[in-house]
Subunit: 138 residues, 2 copies
Amino acid sequence: MLDHIDEGKGLQVLSALRIDGKDGSLITIALNVPSGKFKKKDIIKVENKFLKDDDTNKLAVIAPKATINIIKDYKLIEKRRVALPNEINRIFRCSNPDCISNSTEHIESVMDVIDKEGRVLKCRYCSRVLDVNKLKYN
Amino acid sequence: MLDHIDEGKGLQVLSALRIDGKDGSLITIALNVPSGKFKKKDIIKVENKFLKDDDTNKLAVIAPKATINIIKDYKLIEKRRVALPNEINRIFRCSNPDCISNSTEHIESVMDVIDKEGRVLKCRYCSRVLDVNKLKYN
């Protein structure tokens, strides 16, 4: 279960993590749920979904307040907050069309997280500082 | 509440009806819910959403098994199945690029529902028979 997703980001998380229910698993999404801690939050519950590092990195960028709750046999067995790593490889695309990571040379993008609190990412190749709200996925 | 949405169509209905929670209203979506009547179904609950004719027509095309349940003060006050009208104006785009409804003359699309059961639509202008699973919205 993904809890405390920043209000209004639930559908974006769904799409970034490619949760679409096409595998037939039960999915529940709640948007704009009243929350004590923050004003409102979005929640996503998914059966049998194992988050890879790429998924938690996307989550940390899109919904930095999110918590990941792992539930097994109706018991909460793990609860953790998402956190940005020092660098994010591959998953996002640099917004600079002239950046070598966007060339035909198939170089994987590398972004340094230069401010974790403010979610500021910087392309290691062209040094462009990236707006996390406009990032495109590879 | 929209119940009995055809399995796997919930997110498409959400997008077609422009339900995105940006107005802050509480929204719950459940995908792949076990259902006695059909094998599985999707469900969408929305606060303060009034469906216009265009919305129910979209719903009838995308999720023909859907039921619309109107709940007020915790009571179910109306329950109805969606049904295709005889013609659908404006909301869908003809897939024929040469159709006059796609020209710059701003003519509204008109589609005759020639088979309600099989959900077959036919453009009144160019007579193209349209695949309901590939319709684009205007």
